[in-house]
Symmetry: C2
Subunit: 741 residues, 2 copies
């Protein structure tokens, strides 16, 4: 397996692509992704070779350099020369001359050799011609730093398309336009124009859709005491996208964490495939912005109404093992911990403090972040009693009191790290009144570095802790100004450990006649499916429904009801009526033939009143099942990430109660279980007060089957079961709507 390209396991899409994008995505089946046999260890081999000139160029040419230090074209030349890049550097500017003791060629075709990577900072209008010249010259990859393309309107978009055409024609990969390029602090390589000094080397790679964010983050990080391994600014992504760079960046040995600033993704399912592989080895964090302004569109189903773009991103990131940060600060707070700390083997946190207040703050934050303020082993507490003052608190949080010496910090920390009940330590260090913070730092740094459990430090203050701050940062121990952020970082570590422990394979049920199901839909017009077809579909997928039949007359309804058995429900069936209950199109608990006939007549009248042109297919007579818990299960399609399964509390109030969650289809068992464990509807299946328990396994099974149906049947735009009735020994789909596109 070692040398085999990783994509071989993924089906038919290797090598079929265009030179500029050799991955085809249309027919990718997510069920094949994430199989354990596809390991990340061969990821470097899987990296698209056409991208390697970006990340390991033998030579770089900057086209559009300037001798004027105020110009960005000077900045790029300066950074490339000063960064210590070891390959050949060439400059081009029609004016010629020399710059940083290197000749400036007057045109691309004057270059003395074929060059791997070109960085363009020339006016937008001349970029296509310049690309043409690069292609002729054998350039393999281009960073277009110039702006003035798609971001400025239609004319710019046409120019951008022209650039892409040229690049494709020559088999050159193109990063940008409208980006600030890339940086590798270890190689080193710096094609940006960012003002010096460059960030220090580090373990965090930052991939950003926004150049301004890149520039700000690189500057900001200096004050935060962490560096970067790589920085990739993607700009307009005419060619190279966030998905393309995931694998090559993750393959970098210096990179331990990938931090992504995303304004969206360009191909959701392909992004998922790459991310699922990358996250098996490297921690991936994402700040996805652009939540607003989309505005939810009117939707005919609850599922459609509740499944916004953000819900899909959340589900996709969760499935891919990407941690989604809410703010930039949070992303980098987490990134430092993930870059520098070992992962904990559980959620049990011990807090070590020299003051009560910050200890309480820490205890709150530990629990607010979903971690556990652990109970210490008795032996730990006994030993702590021996080394601490009598008034100290040896329960967690361990409060050594203000007099705590550096030695007490060290000994107590050692005891906590040796306690089997402790998976991680949050150490609190406000300016100690009797000692110095640096004194404490010196004692504990070797202990933290030697530990196999993570320790993060809430180092509170400014002047008084500066020296300690430097010492911790130098030792790559993450510090935070308050216990709250420290606890949040510990939670990211625990979450990362969970991601790695996750069972990744979606459940694939055997024995479903997919061909028959597809056949059913082939003959059908786009729109809402008839009850007959829905019933056949459900039958094919092994999903139970109550006994039912369609009646055209009141008399027929009465007869059918007598056969099925009472009580029955009547439901109006009309292609024009989606929400039956809104037009009085549902009658429940009809206990005899007469009641059925009367209800039939009323329903027809009401339906015609409410929807004068409504075409009635008939009225469905359905056996009513007493009791049970009302659930909703729905599947809808996200334009980026494909089918999403929704589960939650059913009934008419679905959108109001919002007791629903989403997961990507097909479901893994863990994902299906999460839907149950994290909703009230799911928890209640175990029984609650006077509500008897219901068949959780049957519900789980139906979730998986519906998810599979959505994957098998691409024409199935949405399907919603509401209610799905969960009974003691089964679950049955009482009311189902489905639409094909």
């Amino acid at each position: 397996m070692g040398l085999k390209p990783v994509f071989l396991g993924l089906g038919s899409f290797v090598g079929k692509g265009s030179p500029a994008n050799n991955l085809q995505t249309a027919d990718i089946d997510l069920r094949l992704v994430g199989r354990k046999s596809i390991t990340i260890h061969c990821m470097a081999k899987a990296t698209d070779a056409s991208l390697s000139p970006f990340f390991d160029p033998q030579s770089v040419v900057v086209i559009g350099v300037s001798a004027n230090p105020d110009k960005l074209g000077y900045g790029i030349a300066r950074n490339l020369v000063n960064c210590g890049y070891k390959g050949a550097i060439h400059f081009v500017n029609p004016k010629g001359g020399t710059l940083f003791d290197l000749p400036v060629y007057t045109a691309v075709n004057q270059l003395p050799e074929a060059v791997d990577l070109a960085v363009l900072l020339v006016p937008a209008q001349v970029v296509p011609d310049t690309l043409e010249a690069c292609g002729e010259q054998g350039v393999r990859a281009v960073i277009v730093a110039s702006g003035g393309f798609r971001e400025v309107g239609a004319q710019g978009a046409r120019l951008e398309a022209a650039c892409l055409d040229v690049a494709r024609r020559y088999g050159m990969r193109l990063m940008g336009p409208n980006c600030i390029g890339l940086m590798d602090t270890h190689l080193p390589l710096d094609t940006t124009f960012l003002p010096p000094p460059a960030p220090p080397t580090g373990e965090i790679a930052f991939i950003s859709h926004s150049g301004a964010i890149c520039a700000a983050i690189v500057d900001w990080s200096r004050g935060q005491g962490f560096g970067f391994s790589r920085l990739v600014s993607l700009g307009n992504q005419a060619d190279v996208t966030e998905t393309d760079v995931l694998a090559p960046v993750a393959a970098d040995d210096h990179t331990r964490v990938l931090a992504l600033y995303l304004e969206g993704v360009s191909d959701g399912r392909r992004f998922m495939q790459m991310a699922q592989q990358v996250t098996r080895q490297k921690a991936v964090l994402a700040l996805k912005v652009g939540r607003t302004g989309g505005g939810k569109k009117a939707a005919a189903s609850h599922t459609g109404a509740l499944a916004g773009e953000e819900v899909a991103y959340d589900a996709a990131f969760r499935r891919a093992g990407i941690q989604r940060a809410q703010t930039a600060q949070e992303m980098f707070d987490w990134a430092r911990a993930l870059a520098w700390c070992p992962l904990p083997s559980g959620n049990n946190v011990a807090v070590l403090t020299n003051a009560g207040g910050p200890g309480v703050m820490a205890a709150d934050a530990v629990e607010a972040n979903g971690l556990v303020l652990t109970s210490l082993a008795e032996s730990t507490e006994e030993r702590l009693c021996e080394i601490l003052s009598a008034a100290a608190s040896v329960n967690n949080p361990v409060d050594m009191l203000a007099t705590a010496s550096p030695q007490q910090y060290a000994s107590s920390l050692r005891l906590l790290l040796n306690d089997g009940n402790v998976d991680a330590v949050l150490l609190i260090l406000p300016p100690p009144p009797m000692f110095t913070a640096i004194g404490v730092a010196r004692q504990i740094i070797p202990i933290i570095k030697a530990a196999t459990k993570p320790v993060v430090v809430a180092l509170m203050g400014d002047n008084l802790i500066q020296e300690a701050q430097d010492a911790f940062r130098g030792a790559h121990i993450p510090t935070y100004p308050f216990p709250e952020t420290g606890a949040s970082a510990l939670a990211a570590l625990a979450h990362q450990a969970n991601i790695l422990a996750q069972e990744e394979e979606p459940v694939l049920l055997e024995g479903i006649d997919i061909a028959a199901a597809r056949e059913l839909l082939t003959a059908t017009e786009p729109g809402w499916l008839s009850q007959e077809i829905i019933n056949s579909l459900l039958h094919t997928y092994g999903i139970r429904t109550p006994a039912m039949a369609l009646a055209q007359t009141a008399a027929e309804a009465g007869a059918v009801a007598s056969e099925i058995g009472f009580p029955v429900a009547l439901k109006i069936i009309s292609p024009d009526i989606v929400h039956k209950s809104d037009v009085g199109g549902i009658a429940l608990n009809l206990a005899g033939k007469a009641a059925v006939e009367q209800a039939f007549a009323q329903m027809v009248t009401r339906a015609h009143e409410a929807h004068p042109p409504a075409e009635l297919s008939g009225i469905q007579v359905q056996r009513m099942i007493p009791g049970g818990q009302e659930l909703i299960v729905g599947v809808t399609r996200d334009p980026q990430f494909g089918p999403l399964v929704m589960f939650g509390s059913g009934g008419v109030e679905v959108e109001g109660l919002q007791d629903v969650l989403f997961e990507l289809a097909p479901l893994t068992r863990a994902a299906a279980q999460r839907l149950l464990h994290e909703t009230w509807a799911g928890k209640k299946l175990a029984g609650y007060r006077s509500i008897p328990p219901a068949d959780e396994t049957a519900v789980l099974d139906i979730l998986i089957r519906l998810g599979q149906m959505a994957v098998d049947l691409p024409r199935l735009a949405e399907i919603e079961v509401n209610p799905l009735l969960a009974l003691a020994d089964r679950a049955t789909a009482v009311d189902v709507r489905a639409r094909i596109s």
Copy 2:
């Protein structure tokens, strides 16, 4: 009104207290608090005169000074001398000598004059005697900085009680023990031992239960570029509490914001009264820690089970107009904005940026913080078009593009501030690639300072924005490292404006016979109330119930049902059975006499099976009302803050769905409306899909009446209506339980 003590309007509790605590709280009626006539303008007069020696002492003695710079007793002397305190300074230490050119007296009784304020840093055991000496010497207030009291155990607690005894005996007020004292940067006064430099002067007062947090925050604030007006470390609060210092600190002209670090409050209702007055004039922020570890106690009602301590704090802070921060960082992010910015007159925010990425981030954050990304006036957009480049985006967020000049920043900002659709501006300033951040700062600072609308700046970066950072801080314009924190600060400003606009008076209904209601309870044993008494109570408070009667036999039940009218419900009535549905003690929809009699018999059997010793009072026959929306309304008592009203979705799943909110009783109209507007149960009253609208006014009225009942009847421990049935034209209390203590 001007010179009248503010408390006169509050009833009988002025001047009745002990010398050490002249406010009595037991009988305070919250209904009288917050009346508009009680304005804050006379607050300074209301300040407890016994506390003035802390905040404006004519002379200070430090007892326990040291000549050894490593000792805290040296630190206090140093800070007091160096801070520039203008009153007389005295030192005491048995060794005598001189310190900072001042004589060190060998004993308190050697002092040459009566001293206002004494600061003690002597061993715990000698504190009581030292206090005695202070009392003899005429000292009026004492800060006990020494530790070794209640915080170290029972013996320390006894010592602390002894200290309080001495203080009370001499009419001295006591701050601490185990505190770091106080600081006033404007007076100036500094009785702390914190290492220099002291924080710069500022507009934020910090009141803290934790000395360590004080020390850390003071040090941390230096790097954050803001100062403090006052700092009060309360320590163990043997005498002076957080409530005591609210008014005197708020009365300080230099203080614009009070930031509180609280581990609880010592007297909830008194805290409320003080806070409600203070927040009319000054912004008050609180970080309340200690959420964990309490553990919810088992409760017999849903209301009791859901009403934790934190819920009560949230409701109390909300009512008092205190903004509750979730983290220390957040509290001071908000505090700076509140100290330096005018309040907005609405929630409409404009974002001004030179880069798209941060603009999107800002737009997300504006909406995530409950603010509105406003639409700009057409004329504003037109003018922006004129001054910005063609590719700029003149919709909100206004993106001037990377080339934006300082002049464009200034002109655009002016246009936004002049737009009537804009209440506040979030200005984004990452390092501009073509200009400098300080260049932009210089242009916009005068505009921001002249504006009557708040502007906060997301100043992104470190090195490249340092000069701009200093300029903004110097001009008292709040900056934040990212748009997200800037938006959060704007939200705090908008929230503060809402607090000031809030209608504060609880609703008082006339014509309720409180005496009769009290009479009803007087004769009753503690425990659950009988249905008869409950019915009388509800009747007294004008709360409607369905027709009902108690039956002792099946035949009687049948007869009663025939009289009341079908359908009826049967409910078991037993002092031993609280949750009727759990034991099959409820039968619904009984449509005839036979059904009633049969259900009666079954119910009695089932109840005896479930609770063999259960004593049955009978079975209640109640007219069933078809349709309606099921709500829950409950009242329970918080030990600190008194009665809390809960409202939300009713039924058996209350605790699972958690669609409930709490407000303090008695309710203001705004509080009652919030209960409705922010729960699904309340929103649904307007009707939803097939659910017809219900009588919202009637529900609001019942909420207010129940709240008032809880206030009128202190013995009423809890009352819960579940369901409260909301119908088209009324709301009726279908099932009610109540307990007295």
